[in-house]
Point group: C2
Chain length 230, copies 2
Amino acid sequence: MSDIRIVLCRPSHPGNIGAAARAMKTMGLSDLRLVAPERAPAPQDEWMATHAADVLAAARTHATLAEAIADCASAFALSARPREWSPQVLDVREAAARAASIDAPLAFVFGSESAGLTNEELFACQFLVHIPAVPGASSLNLAQAVQVVCYELHVALGATVPTMRTEKLATVEDLEGLYAHLEQAAVATEFMAPGSRLRDRWRRLFSRVPALEREEVNILRGLLKALMKK
Amino acid sequence: MSDIRIVLCRPSHPGNIGAAARAMKTMGLSDLRLVAPERAPAPQDEWMATHAADVLAAARTHATLAEAIADCASAFALSARPREWSPQVLDVREAAARAASIDAPLAFVFGSESAGLTNEELFACQFLVHIPAVPGASSLNLAQAVQVVCYELHVALGATVPTMRTEKLATVEDLEGLYAHLEQAAVATEFMAPGSRLRDRWRRLFSRVPALEREEVNILRGLLKALMKK
């Protein structure tokens, strides 16, 4: 991810710069560039940058977008507005997939909070990226758009979430043992007549449980056993 | 999307409530629930809710999470922390896909900014949802996590981005005309010898252009023609 930079063009609210730095940090990005920021550095940067002060401190400032992306193989411009003429349009997931396949410096470029990117800035980029959103609704907050882009990049680069502690899963034999036990209990208590189709119901219920564990089956059977003793 | 609610448990910063409302609005969600908010309503709600005052105004407040999700078919708890024991773990994309396939009220549940969800709140939900992020980095800002979840829901429900104005695409015949024209120009100017493999280079270049338009080919050929006249 070190070859992917986030470029903010003319940001007006320092708080958004800090919030963008935090969004980057959560997703493993660290190269932040500011093009002609209205006010930066400012104290509000840091208020919003929780745990991302390093990203903020290392941010570089450029006079123009051209300078900020000069050494990039591709620049992806974010824009909420559809434009009649533009570079190739991608949605943010396609853009992230494309970025993940390129082994060279890349930039994702964001416009100012109020006016977005100018046409000149847009055409300095090779791609126009939209975040799917409700047509006619206002656009995403700047730092929230940065968050969605960094998230998609992180996922495109193969991020996964930690999975649950894996326990021994119940086998078919375990399950059949449970069903037989349930049936025995239901008949013994005259809750159901022998051979009733009622037994299909718990079969249907337990087969819908994803990754049912042996220990869970044993707990149920232990409870049944205790109940039947009483 | 009207059947999907966003539930914020004990939010402490009113600005985050407003920013969450804005995030929801951009993605077409409108049902916001607040469980025991520290301070709400507060003026900061509205500062951050740009264009989503309606979502904020319609938000309902509940005393407990159980009350907020009582009529839901499933509740999805967001948590950054892996837990040893938890409901079934999904990443946010899987969770959105599952939500999109259920035609009943659903909730996505977020904890407080400082401490997240309690264990009791977590187990009131049927799923634990992680947003893939850098292990060890701090968690996402509350409103930014809401933004990612709403974005994934919007995409799972089939959102697409508006595509470019579609022009008549160049045909193979158009392309061959261009290549012949280029070769003719290159030979005539002694830029290359007749039959040189150099001509493979522009073939390779132009075949990589996605959705090359007839008009673009015509513009190139027009320029070539003008240059050769000179």
